[in-house]
């Protein structure tokens, strides 16, 4: 589940990648600090959400800042847990334990897109 991928930031050279991401892949990174209830809830919520909405089109990268605190500054992490969408651009952040699925989908720009094909 924990993919250690080090592409730092999105490759923001496709301007219409925003509107046509269906072929694109969701590159998500979840920052947590240790195995706190909030962290575990966030990981579980994210997995569930991705499976049901982005099956096969996503990678999740979980970063434990207690292990690698130097990564916090790079993605401007303040609140934890934070979910960062690196791809597709633009950069999006969702903070919290991701318990409100609706807001996560809005935050990741998934909701409008999944709404239109139906």
């Amino acid at each position: 589940m924990i993919v250690t991928k080090q592409d730092d930031g999105p490759v923001a050279d496709t301007p219409n990648g925003l509107s046509e991401p269906e072929s694109g892949e969701y590159n998500l990174r979840l920052y947590v600090a240790g195995q706190t209830p909030k962290s575990l809830a966030a990981i579980a919520n994210l997995k569930k959400l991705c499976e049901s909405n982005l099956a096969g089109r996503y990678t999740i990268d979980v970063v434990d800042l207690l292990v690698t605190p130097q990564l916090a500054a790079g993605d401007q992490i303040v609140a934890l847990p934070t979910l960062v969408r690196h791809l597709p651009p633009p950069l999006k952040r969702v903070i919290g334990d991701l318990s409100n699925t609706e807001r996560v989908l809005v935050g990741l720009d998934i909701r409008p897109k999944t709404a239109s094909p139906t």
Binding site: Y31, A33, K38, A41, A42, N45, L65, L66, P69, Q70, A72, A73, Q76, I77, V78, A79, L80, P81, T82, P90, L91, K92, R93, V94, I95, G96, D97, L98, S99, N100, T101, R103, V104, V106, G107, L108
Partner: protein, 572 residues
């Protein structure tokens, strides 16, 4: 009360009753008024409106910590990017990039954009803790600045979480043992916009930037300082190319050590008028007078004399540029340029309207500290316009600063025409130890300059009005002629002196004549005596001849008679 609180604090933390240890900021003045600096290991809130210098203040705290006290620091900036910060503080002469390079400083820019963030469910600010903790641990930082943490409130929605997390953050900073400055924007009716002073309550410093009469003055106040006494007033502070300096206003005690030494005035005639042949060292001198009476010249003569003795002088010019003063004084034989070249004399020129009084004072204080002069001149104090209470407090503090450092301070003041004292004069008159009043007297179609000593504390002094002339060899004191109609000066004096010379001459001639007459009389009498004596001698000679003839006749007569008797006897 503060002391009591310390005890409670100390007892609660079950440590010994050690005094609160302090971390010096290295900002001149601030450490003095907080009696040592900010509380070590505790957060301090630094608040003020926009443009007060919060960031510069905090940055100075860090840079001084590194450069002066060997304490690495972390700056967590919520507003400015590291690059911008580096550029901004470069104006104070801080090379931040180099400090970062040397691993003495970490600058972390925390960027929060509300548009990019969606909140879903519960969260905390552990990320901030992790970043800060990492930054602190990576260089062993002792000092931390959070500038301006309230930016979080505009980036995140859940203020309840924010508040509890901030409370946790400040407690965590204390546990970390770092001395922190948290800056905050001034809010309506409270110290900060979001009321974070509730959480950071060990030490609160308020910065202020007020505009009065189009003049801006920066002020600083220590609102609270748990466990320590501190200066409670508002103190002016200064931000310029020399960094930040705070001016602690008057130690308020009149306990300065005084000197009995006299300092020559630079005008020989004036020295004679003062009982100790000069001013007291460390005293305050006011020279007041109308326009063109030579106030600056007297000041320059004093400076010139001091420099010739090898003393350091600082000249605060508020009306003329240094070059102009040097040129003008050269015309009266005072060569100030050579003293500038030798480094004994320094000019600080500024328009009075450039800053408020406080700023001027702060600037002068800093200049005095840096140059360490024995003599300062402020020319003129009347250039300060404003309410007399402010002028008074400004000058009283300046005089105090000088006295506490043993600096002889000479102030000039332009009097308005007439006998009235100007506002600035009236307000400072009681501060001055020696007051020389320069006057113009107008008579016989000319103006002449006279001076008198209005007062001179602690010494006997001349009470006479004295005329003086500004010659190309300096100031020349003339004995004023006091005639039946008052003091005569200028040509009137010269005419009077001529008349006196004339009268003196004729008196002398009369005496001479009389002397000759006496001699003649004596000669005549001598002659008569000689004649009489001669007559007497003649008479005496005649008498002697007569006596001799008589005696001879007597003798002859006697012998004739005996001859006759003998003849008769024979015949009988």
């Amino acid at each position: 009360m503060a002391a009591k609180r310390t005890k409670v604090d100390a007892a609660a933390s079950s440590t010994r009753l050690a005094p609160l240890s302090k971390t010096p900021t290295g900002i001149k003045g601030l450490d003095a008024l907080t009696l040592g600096g900010l509380p070590t290991g505790r957060p301090t809130l630094l608040c003020g409106a926009a443009g007060c210098g919060k960031t510069l203040f905090a940055m100075t705290f860090l840079v001084n910590g590194i450069n002066k006290f060997g304490e690495p620091g972390v700056l967590m900036s919520f507003e400015e990017r590291a690059r911008d910060l580096e550029t901004n503080v470069a104006s104070l002469g801080y090379d931040v990039a180099e400090l970062v390079e040397r691993k003495q400083l970490v600058i972390d820019h925390v960027y929060i954009e509300r548009a990019e963030i969606e909140e879903s469910g519960e969260y905390d600010l552990e990320g901030l803790f992790v970043r800060l903790g990492h930054a602190i641990d990576s260089i062993g930082a002792k000092r931390v600045v959070l500038d301006t943490i309230e930016a979080l409130f505009s980036g995140l929605d859940d203020t309840a979480i924010l508040r509890s997390e901030l409370r946790r953050l400040f407690a965590w900073l204390k546990d970390k043992g770092v001395t922190a400055i948290i800056t905050g924007e001034r809010g309506d009716g409270q110290l900060t916009r979001y009321g974070i002073e509730e959480y950071v309550s060990d030490c609160v410093i308020l910065l202020d930037n007020r505009v009065e009469d189009q003049v801006t003055t920066r002020r600083l106040r220590v609102v609270k300082y748990r466990g320590s006494s501190h200066g409670t007033n508002e103190y002016p502070f200064l931000i310029d190319e020399h960094g930040i300096s705070v001016l602690p206003i008057t130690s308020a005690e009149l306990g300065h050590r005084i000197s009995h030494e006299s300092v020559p005035t630079g005008v020989p005639g004036l020295d004679d008028m003062l009982g100790i042949r000069g001013y007291f060292r460390g005293s305050s001198i006011l020279i007041s007078g109308l326009a063109g009476t030579g106030k600056s010249t007297f000041a320059s003569a004093f400076v010139n004399a001091a420099c010739e003795r090898g003393e350091r002088c600082l000249f605060f010019a508020f009306e003329e540029s240094p070059d102009q003063i040097v040129r003008n004084m050269a015309s009266v034989g005072l060569k100030l340029d050579q003293h500038i070249d030798s480094g004994l004399l320094d000019f600080q020129a500024a328009r009075p309207s450039l800053y408020g009084f406080e700023m001027h004072l702060a600037r002068m204080n800093r200049d005095i500290e840096e140059f360490a002069p024995q003599v300062i001149v402020v020319d003129p104090i009347s250039a300060f316009r404003g309410p007399s209470s402010e002028i008074h407090s400004t000058l009283i503090r300046l005089a105090d600063i000088c006295k506490s450092k043993g600096i002889t301070a000479l102030f000039t003041s332009l009097s308005s025409s007439g006998e009235q004292m100007s506002e600035s004069e009236r307000s400072v008159s009681s501060l001055m130890d020696t007051w020389i009043s320069l006057k113009d007297t107008e008579a016989n179609g000319e103006r002449n300059r006279v001076l008198y000593l209005l007062k001179s504390r602690g010494m006997n002094h001349s009470k006479q009005l004295r005329e003086y002339q500004l010659t190309n060899h300096g100031i020349h004191m003339v004995d004023a002629y006091v005639g039946p109609d008052g003091v005569l000066t200028g040509t009137a004096r010269i005419a009077q002196e001529a008349r006196e010379r004339e009268a003196g001459l004729s008196r002398k001639q009369a005496t001479e004549r009389r002397r000759r007459e006496v001699a003649r009389k004596r000669a005549a009498l001598d002659r008569q005596i000689a004649e009489l004596r001669a007559a007497l001698e003649t008479e005496e000679a005649e008498m002697a001849t007569l006596i001799e003839q008589e005696e001879a006749r007597e003798l002859a007569h006697g012998s004739e008679r005996s001859e006759m008797a003998a003849i008769r006897g024979v015949r009988s």
